[in-house]
């Protein structure tokens, strides 16, 4: 008799009782994998007073929700979260475990993977099953795409950023089984979260922005970077950065677009002073119109966009800003 494969799991994440979009996106993708594997989709949700929110997990495609509801679980506590998930995974033997690539996910996933003695992939831009129904994590690197698999150890684990998979269609009529989890009482408690502070993000958020302006090393210095920031502001666009721009200290890590940063799907993307490195370009998923401004006509970025301007971005961007403002003023007066 063929062995029934374990379920596809998603470790859902909530912040202040709000389930993150990435968790719902992953559940919808887990559904696709589960259909191919002929198994079920299960979500693990840890928090406090989260009963109501399980409906969203079912609506996105979960068949079963393991729900830990306790004041101790209200926010991420690494030891308790790890312990609960590891214990449950040992008992239920999931085939695949997916986690959002958030600051919590990127700490929790390796803690769980190491305890389970299994492999974990990062920065996946797609997750598919190969001909042996083994999970392939597709990861951009070194000018191409790597497929990484975990052939023997189980579960197969991966972290995926928000936006890699589309917003799921929510079926509000779907329901499923809720299994309550106990909080173990033998936690060492060598680490305690005392306070969590979250500020309102500055500038335009990537998730909602129809336009993303991204800047790279071509900005040259902070002054050059400010010009790119001005362009973003003029267009009411979200401002993204390549890794070199973050490394230079011009932009915050949070604004990095690409493989190890944000994944965005804007209507319009404008890349300024960047060379089109794959690690950055994979962060722009399905942009309708793409524009690049770069002083090197041979830059690979010009093979990846619809419109290109060959010019020094430090000189060109201020001129462009003026022209955009003229255009915008004309619109108002018409």
């Amino acid at each position: 008799m063929k062995k029934q494969p374990g379920s596809v799991w998603v470790i859902a994440e909530q912040i202040d009782c709000r389930i993150l979009d990435v968790s719902l996106q992953l559940i919808a993708h887990a559904r696709k994998l589960a259909i191919e594997l002929e198994t079920s989709v299960e979500a693990v949700l840890l928090g406090d007073k989260m009963n109501e929110q399980t409906r969203q997990l079912f609506a996105a495609g979960a068949d079963r929700v393991y729900l830990g509801n306790a004041p101790d679980l209200a926010h991420y506590q690494p030891e308790i979260y790890t312990e609960i998930i590891v214990k449950l995974a040992k008992e239920r033997q999931p085939e695949i475990v997916l986690i959002g690539s958030t600051s919590m996910g990127r700490e929790l996933a390796p803690l769980v993977a190491a305890r389970l003695g299994t492999g974990l992939t990062a920065h996946c831009i797609d997750l598919v099953l190969d001909e042996n129904k083994i999970l392939e994590s597709i990861i951009p690197a070194y000018g191409g795409l790597l497929s990484i698999i975990c052939p023997e150890k189980r579960p197969q684990m991966a972290t995926i950023a928000a936006g890699v998979f589309p917003k799921p269609e929510m079926d509000e009529n779907r329901t499923g089984e809720i299994i309550a989890l106990e909080v173990p009482d033998d936690i060492p408690r060598r680490i305690q979260t005392l306070e969590i502070i979250r500020e309102k993000p500055q500038g335009v958020s990537f998730e909602s922005a129809p336009i993303v302006v991204a800047g790279g090393a071509g900005a040259g210095d902070l002054e050059g970077w400010r010009k790119i920031a001005d362009l973003a502001e003029t267009l009411n666009a979200a401002l993204g950065a390549t890794r070199p721009a973050v490394d230079e200290g011009w932009a915050e890590l949070e604004t990095m677009v690409g493989q190890s940063g944000k994944i965005v799907s804007p209507e319009l993307y404008i890349g300024v002073g960047l060379s089109g490195e794959l690690q950055h370009m994979v962060g722009i998923v399905g942009a309708k119109v793409m524009v690049a401004i770069n002083n090197d006509a041979k830059s690979p970025v010009f093979e990846q966009v619809d419109y290109g301007v060959v010019d020094d971005c430090r000189e060109f961007v201020p001129v462009l800003i003026n022209k955009i403002k003229e255009y915008q003023e004309k619109l108002v007066t018409c």
Partner: protein
């Protein structure tokens, strides 16, 4: 005395990293002639250790895993002010994924002896997984805090640190011994000094292979790695570009027209 271990990694110089290709036959990265440098954010881990040493009675040990040329980055850390250096180097360690790397480093730390604090950069510029810190902590059976951007309290057995979150931070209290992975916001790393380089000449780097570490062969390198690269592909999502030409003014005007056509501006 506070015993600090700083884990550092020799990575291909990010400025030349684009030259690195993947060998389709062996499915291992061929690093060609790209020079190794100290991973950028590891410098912040090193700086944190040096600042602690300036304020407390502390001893700094450098630990790295890599091919023999990686001893250069260990030397660099000794020249910055670390007290001793260890390089875990063996053919059997080659091809390690984050899991096998973390396991081998944990074995190295255990062999070095008692420790209070393990510091490492949040991620390497080549793999950038962020897995090694937490996985190493798991093998050492000690707590970890990732993405530390401020060490708030560091006297006594319990430390208080701030760790980065999306648009914010968490304040965490943690009992030593512990692993901390640090971000570039933690501090500004100092530069090498001539006198530091001279002093470092007297400091020795101990090299350990698989036998010294007593790591079973099946737990090290590629054999000890749960994940493998199974396939390689190229990307062909190329668009047909229209290069806008003319004077600077003309180019800007034409581009605005193209942007206006999208209806978004």
């Amino acid at each position: 005395m506070l015993k600090i271990v700083v884990c550092v990694k020799a990575v291909p110089d990010p400025k030349e990293a684009h030259k690195i290709k993947i060998d389709p036959a062996t499915k291992i990265l061929t690093r060609s002639d790209v020079p190794f440098v100290l991973n950028l954010v590891d410098k912040n881990a090193m700086e944190a250790a040096l600042q602690l040493k300036e304020q407390l009675d502390a001893h700094i040990t450098i630990l790295s895993m890599g091919p023999p040329p990686a001893d250069n980055i260990v030397k660099e850390c000794l020249a910055l002010g670390a007290d001793q250096g260890f390089l875990l180097s063996d053919r059997a360690f080659g091809g390690a994924d984050a899991y096998a790397t973390a396991y081998t480093l944990a074995k190295g730390i255990e062999k070095i002896g008692p420790y209070d604090v393990v510091l490492c950069g949040m991620a390497s510029s080549d793999g950038s997984t962020e897995w090694v810190g937490p996985e190493m902590a798991t093998f050492l059976k000690i707590p970890v805090v990732t993405r530390v951007n401020e060490i708030v309290e560091y006297d006594g057995e319990w430390w208080k640190v701030k760790a980065g979150l999306e648009n914010g931070y968490r304040l965490v209290r943690v009992k030593l011994p512990a692993v901390f992975t640090v971000t570039r916001d933690l501090n500004t790393p100092r530069s090498l000094t001539f006198s530091g380089i001279i002093k470092a000449r007297k400091k020795e780097i101990t090299q350990w292979g698989i036998d010294e570490l007593a790591v079973p062969e099946e737990s090290a390198g590629q054999k000890g790695s749960p994940t493998i690269i199974s396939n390689l592909a190229t990307i062909d999502s190329k668009r047909t570009v229209e290069i806008i030409t003319g004077t600077r003014e003309e180019k800007a005007e034409q581009l605005v027209q193209k942007l206006a056509d999208t209806g978004l501006i």
